[in-house]
Amino acid sequence: MDSSVFTTDFFAALITGAILAGMPLLLAALGETISEQAGLLDIGLEGTMLLGAYMGFVVANSTGSSWIGFLAAIVAGMAVNMLMVVFCVYMGRDQIVVGIAILLAMEGLTSLLHAAQFGESYPRLDAVPSYAIPGLSKIPVLGPSAFTQPLIVYIMFALIFLVGWFLYKTNLGLNIRAAGWKPVALDNAGVDVLRIRTIASLMTGALAGLGGGYMAIITAGIFVPFMTGGLGFIAIVIAMLGRGRPVWVFVGSLLFGIALSIATALQLVGINISTDVVQMLPFVTVMIALALFARRSYLPAALATPFVRGQR
């Protein structure tokens, strides 16, 4: 292969693309991590993202402010996860079935609302302004691509550490992990397990909704039905592989983000690789890694089991 192919253009496009594609994944996977640590398997993540994307787009479009749009996406995501809270946390119903119900309902709902509201016109949001970080943005290749981003992207980077600190260093975070690993112990310590799980699920909804909102407001600038295209499920996989460690979740999201965008970056320098091949790469890598170093996947012990006080 011609070595001149890998120009700065290529890497810049790759990094920009990886961040564009990887950010929603990162947010959703961070959210899923919190739920999983609390013992909730949120299969409906994709549905949460979709409503977040839709509401984010609609509000950003009508108010003209991307920030209010993001806020709406967060609220929408939390609203979706209220279903998870009511059905799975308080009623103790099966999380996979409820998750699938959320997924299908939100796919249908957003598509329906979209058709009813934007049947004739297809408004597009203006590009969100980017901010260059002084100093860092002067680094060749990496600077203009990674450190010249909309403000929200920097906030998302900060979230990686924030979630890590929250889960491992704060009281509430420890309670959340206890709710997933040993809910009985948490209950005996006098903490309301259901309340902790509710908080965790709402945080998941907020993060996943924001991830969806990011896709609609920043990545695409428009809402399209089914625009999440399976990212929610990839985020679930990333969260499970991340084993509750936000930094690993970040690495996984970046890996998948690169895979999702490398085909476009390669086209930029005149190489046509099938997106099908490239999109398989992270899955192949992960499957091989799992097969070779197969260990138990360190999932919280009480994952996907409803907590009923007094029941063993």
Binding site: L41, F87, V97, L104, G108, L112
Partner: protein, 380 residues
């Protein structure tokens, strides 16, 4: 997750159920949420300014009450039932085979890609049988990695089968755009199997024999479930894996075989759909039956006799709803919302039922305790 979620205890699981009694009960119990779901969907239609009565009537009419609609519904039923059978086998053993769509599409791509060629070199009947076997084998093969990781390392099969599903979907596209690509069409797809080589119709109809295959397979699955040692072992495994180990069941072998059987039946579903209806596979084609059927089978209590009417109803909604949505000027995806709503109401009524049962038992206990106390007071 398994023992609580399925609502069965070990003794429940090993009891051989009476087909009609249990099936009928579950069926009627499940009719109510469907009605609620349709009502809620109707309210939504009203809000959108559509006529719900007209919508549902068109759905019923073009999915069930006209001969051509009914035929289409039954044709659709074949792959749906086979896929459901696949899910039943896995769920019964406590395995969450969430990667059904990947197994389905990969099998479809293999069958569609090899179909036209095989029809050319051998009698079509033999080719049909071989292609069905190929579909089964491909679907089964796609479960090997998740099931081995599960059996030997306890790796969660939800995550691995989900990943294999993405691999399968991408690999299917690669095959269709690569080795199986036809030069006869403008869009990427496989060669087309000539119409008269496809699965034969049932006499007097345009329904292909796939539905017979599906019903026979379901009967066999039900027989295995309820009348064989293998079925019993799977049920014990699903109800309580630890008990299964102590009962001397070869857990590893049973996990791998039941997972393979599950994927195989889903692969067979794909073969039947391709050989009965399409004759070719287009790139990026994904009917995405998996998720909905996954939930339906679960809510039908993994009971074959309940799965059939449920899936039939789903097929009517799919076929008739398509036409109704078109006439009402709604996107087809409204049906997804409808199915989602029905699922929510199913979960809700299930919860209400369990609650009632508990509170009834508690009242009974309290009444007994009260009677005893009275006894003590009057006699002691």
């Amino acid at each position: 997750m398994n023992d609580i979620a399925n609502g069965v205890t070990l003794t429940d699981a090993v009891r051989v159920p009476s087909v009609w009694e249990r099936g009928g009960k579950t069926f009627w119990r499940s009719a109510a949420p469907v009605v609620y779901g349709l009502l809620a969907g109707g309210v939504l239609l009203l809000l959108l300014g559509k006529n719900p009565a007209a919508f549902y009537w068109t759905t019923l009419e073009s999915g069930l009450l006209t001969w051509s609609g009914l035929m289409q519904t039954i044709i659709r039923l074949a792959p749906l039932l086979l896929m459901s059978a696949g899910f039943i086998v896995a769920f019964q053993a406590g395995l969450w085979n969430i990667g059904g769509d990947g197994q389905f599409l990969l099998a479809a791509a293999m069958v569609g890609g090899l179909g036209a060629y095989m029809m050319g070199v051998m009698p079509s009947v033999i080719a049909l049988v071989l292609l069905c076997i190929i579909g089964f084998v491909v679907g089964a093969a796609w479960t090997v990695v998740p099931s081995v990781l599960k059996a030997y390392y306890g790796m969660n099969e939800i995550i691995t089968s989900l990943m294999m599903a993405y691999l399968g979907i991408n690999l299917a596209n690669l095959l269709i755009k690569g080795p199986f690509l036809t030069d006869q069409a403008y869009v990427p797809q496989t060669n087309v199997i000539p119409f008269n080589f496809l699965m034969p119709y049932l006499p007097g109809t345009r329904i292909h024999v796939g539905i017979i295959i599906a019903l026979v397979v379901l009967a066999v699955v039900h027989y295995i479930q309820t009348r064989t040692g293998y079925g019993l072992r799977l049920r014990v495994l699903g109800a309580n894996p630890k008990a299964a180990v102590h009962a001397g069941i070869s857990v590893k072998r049973d996990i791998i075989t039941s997972f393979a059987l599950s994927g195989g039946l889903i692969g067979l579903a794909a073969a039947v759909e391709i050989l009965g209806v399409w004759g070719y596979v287009r790139a990026d084609w994904n009917p995405a039956f998996g998720m909905t059927l996954f939930a339906i089978v679960f809510l039908a209590g993994l009971d074959v006799m309940v799965v059939i009417p449920f899936v039939f109803f789903f097929a009517v909604i799919q076929i008739g709803g398509h036409e109704a949505a078109r006439q009402a000027g709604l996107p087809n995806d409204f049906l997804l919302l409808l199915v989602g709503l029905i699922l929510f109401f199913m979960v809700l009524t299930e919860w209400a039922r369990i609650r009632n049962r508990f509170s009834r038992r508690r009242r009974k206990q309290q009444a007994q305790a009260g009677a005893q106390a009275e006894d003590v007071v009057t006699n002691g």
